[in-house]
């Protein structure tokens, strides 16, 4: 048992032993969810058309004193399409290619003293104000096994916040890197180029950076508006993809029989800002970050596995938001401007979704039923994504959701390449 898992077991045991008199200091939430995805089309590298998934989550919060709180959470998963590891191990760092069967979702101690707050442990850190893409959200790796239905992963580190009047100062230190989980190479969300069709692609692993990551953020809340500036020094959670080997048939000239790909995570620095300004009719939100990659820095290059070959670019989002009646509407444009192109092959959904018009809307039919819509259209028309979701609750515990996702476009476009992955999803959740 690892130190972290031992710590979590100790935490649960401690919480369980708290006398009833302190019952109010302990709260929990959790759910069981079963879902099924139906893909009408087969993918060239993945004939599977039905995928079943199970997830059980439990989170416990314990506040033994006004100045300290502990939070712990565990996920238990199963999947019909090998998206979950077979091994029964307690995973604490979310670094595997597949989702772990049993994992530590979070384990955090939060200390407060006056205007100061410190969160230490495995936690979720979210930066930014936009709803479409968050260029400044650098401590938020995600699970992209299903590219259009992602989930955030926690990072392990320390977050310190000081609040003084309308100003908030935040410092983050993450000593251990958590990468985003990329699509599995033998499944439909990895699109194989036509030229490589029929050639097995194998995972040559990841060169995970050993260095720590740091970030600073200053936020200001004004009368009706707010903005923040941020700085991040660390590694992109999204990998560059490197070809580390093409194994040909012995003694023959021709196409390789196996392609081996390795993931590397470039060192980056970002300088970002975000703002939300309400107007009479809607709220305008903007968020931008300039990504630099210190390619000339030999130390950083070594830390990142020698792969500091990332582009330098600006990601930006401008959106409007309005709630009216039962509608919540968000619409905007996500853009990118490349300042230095280093032609690295990468998996970058954040950049792939830029140069797009994106819109979301939700409609509350009544207290138990709701509809949601989402679309993204590339400005060159080469990729289109649309989603419609109907959700209904029953009683205090049950929620059923039916989702239809349509994707179309050209194979050379980030969105369009998934044109065979339109699907219908059905999910049933029991919350407790």
């Amino acid at each position: 048992m690892t130190r972290a898992s031992a710590l979590f077991v100790s935490f649960v045991a401690f919480v369980s032993s708290v006398p009833c008199a302190n019952a109010q200091a302990v709260t929990q939430r959790g759910f069981f969810e079963g879902s099924a995805l139906l893909f009408p089309q087969q993918a060239p590298n993945d004939p599977t058309q039905v995928v079943g998934d199970l997830l059980a989550r439990e989170e416990i919060f314990f506040k033994p004193a006004p100045w300290v709180q502990f939070a712990g959470g565990v996920d238990l998963r199963a999947n019909s399409h090998d998206q979950v590891e077979d091994r029964w191990r307690f995973d604490v760092d979310d670094r595997g290619v597949q989702r772990p069967r049993v994992s530590l979702r979070r384990l955090t101690a939060t200390f407060t003293h006056g205007p100061f707050t410190v969160d230490a442990g495995k936690q979720f850190i979210r930066w930014g104000k936009a709803d479409i893409i968050n260029p400044t959200d650098r401590f938020a790796p995600r699970d992209f096994i299903n590219v259009v239905d992602t989930e955030f992963l926690a990072v392990t580190g320390v977050r310190a916040v000081a609040q003084h009047g309308d100003e908030t100062f935040e410092a983050v230190w993450v000593p251990r890197f958590t990468p985003s989980r990329v699509p599995l190479l033998d499944q439909r969300w990895t699109v194989v180029p036509t030229e490589a069709a029929g050639v097995p692609i194998v995972d040559a692993g990841a060169a995970l950076p050993a260095g720590s990551q740091t970030g600073l953020r200053w936020g200001h809340v004004g009368a009706g508006f707010e903005y923040s500036l941020s700085f991040f020094n660390g590694f992109n959670t999204l990998p560059n993809i490197g070809l580390v080997g093409q194994v040909g048939q012995v003694g023959q000239v021709g196409p390789p029989s196996v392609i081996a790909l390795q993931r590397t995570y470039p060192a980056i620095r970002t300088y970002g800002g975000d703002a939300a300004v309400p107007t009479k009719w809607f709220t305008i939100k903007g968020e931008a970050a300039y990504f630099t990659s210190p390619a000339a820095d030999a130390d950083l290059s070594r830390q990142s596995g020698g792969a500091a070959t990332a582009d330098e670019y600006v990601l930006y989002v401008l959106q409007i938001e309005r709630q009216t009646g039962e509608w919540v509407i968000v619409a905007g444009y996500a853009g990118e401007a490349i300042t230095a192109h280093r032609s690295a092959l990468s998996f970058a959904p954040d950049r792939g979704m830029t140069r797009s018009v994106v819109a979301r809307a939700s409609y509350t039919i009544d207290p138990v039923r709701s509809l949601a819509f989402e679309t993204a259209v590339r400005q060159n028309g080469h990729g289109v994504y649309g989603k419609i979701e109907y959700s209904q609750t029953s009683g205090r515990h049950w929620r059923g959701t039916v989702t239809g996702v349509g994707i179309g476009g050209h194979s050379d476009d980030f969105l369009g390449q998934y044109h065979r992955n339109s699907h219908v999803a059905v999910a049933l959740r029991y919350s407790f």
Partner: protein
């Protein structure tokens, strides 16, 4: 909170902080001035803080009921208070929280924390007329409305649930941003407790808040049940206050954006 605030922090004595209102039942002074009546009602509810567990029952137009529960904590003086609402039931919204920071001279600031996405979102002024989390309370209904933010006109006498009331028309001052053009307020003559508030957009009544089960809690007459009716939708939400306490020790740092992140 300043010493001045601490000494005079007030609670439900304003026109419409609709979540928890209560008024002292002392001798009724003759009041022929609408503003004096409302001011007196506010004075009688001066407390340092308040806490309760609320049961929300949302009845749609067809009578279907859905339940929610929240806890509410409030600290500070009339017009300068801060409040945190945190959902506890149903399970899937457990932890969702709303921070309301009231100001004496302008509309409140509001932020909602959604644990499922680990994000807080500011509720913009133009969005305050929308319903709060599927209830018939709008976001604006959750903010405190200090007596100084409105103009008042005495519109006569009336009877609500058998109790004699002053009927007062209130109109928001220019500095007060409100979805409502005006409100009619009924205040009981026997204890200065609110009996009803009817809110208008132009000349159409759009929301009605009824106060009932009025009890004396720690010397403050408090409506233990509030029912908001959305007159356009035909739906209503009943809020029942449990475990209500006044003057509970609370800290300023528990009413910040950082604090609502904690469960």
């Amino acid at each position: 909170m300043s010493k001045g605030q601490a000494g005079r922090v007030g609670q439900a004595g304003r026109v419409g902080f609709t979540i928890a209102l209560a008024w002292l039942s002392l001798d009724v002074r003759a009041a022929d001035n609408a503003r004096q009546i409302v001011d007196e009602a506010q004075k009688r509810t001066d407390v340092t803080s308040q806490r309760y567990d609320g049961l929300l029952q949302v009845f749609d137009a067809k009578g279907k009921v859905s339940d929610k529960r929240w806890t509410m904590e409030r600290l500070g003086a009339h017009g300068q208070s801060k409040a945190v609402l945190r959902f506890t039931v149903p399970a899937e919204v457990k932890g969702v929280a709303l921070l309301v920071v009231n100001h004496p001279d302008r509309a409140s600031d509001q932020w909602m924390w959604t644990p499922a996405i680990e994000r807080d979102r500011r509720i913009a002024l133009q969005d305050r007329s929308t319903r709060f989390f599927g209830t018939d309370f709008s976001f604006e209904d959750l903010e405190e409305r200090d007596v100084n933010q409105y103009e008042y006109v005495l519109a006569g006498d009336d009877t609500i649930d058998g109790a004699a009331c002053w009927k007062i028309q209130s109109t928001p001052r220019e500095s007060k941003s409100s979805q409502y053009t005006k409100s009619t307020v009924w205040i009981r003559k026997d204890n200065y407790a609110f009996a009803r508030i009817e809110n208008y957009v132009k000349d159409q009544a759009v929301r009605r808040l009824n106060y009932s089960d009025i009890q004396n809690v720690q010397g403050i007459w408090t409506a233990r049940q509030l029912e908001m009716t959305d007159l356009r939708r035909g739906s209503r939400t009943r809020l029942t206050l449990d475990k209500l306490e006044y003057n509970v020790p609370m800290k300023e740092e528990d009413f910040t954006l950082q604090a609502i992140r904690r469960q």
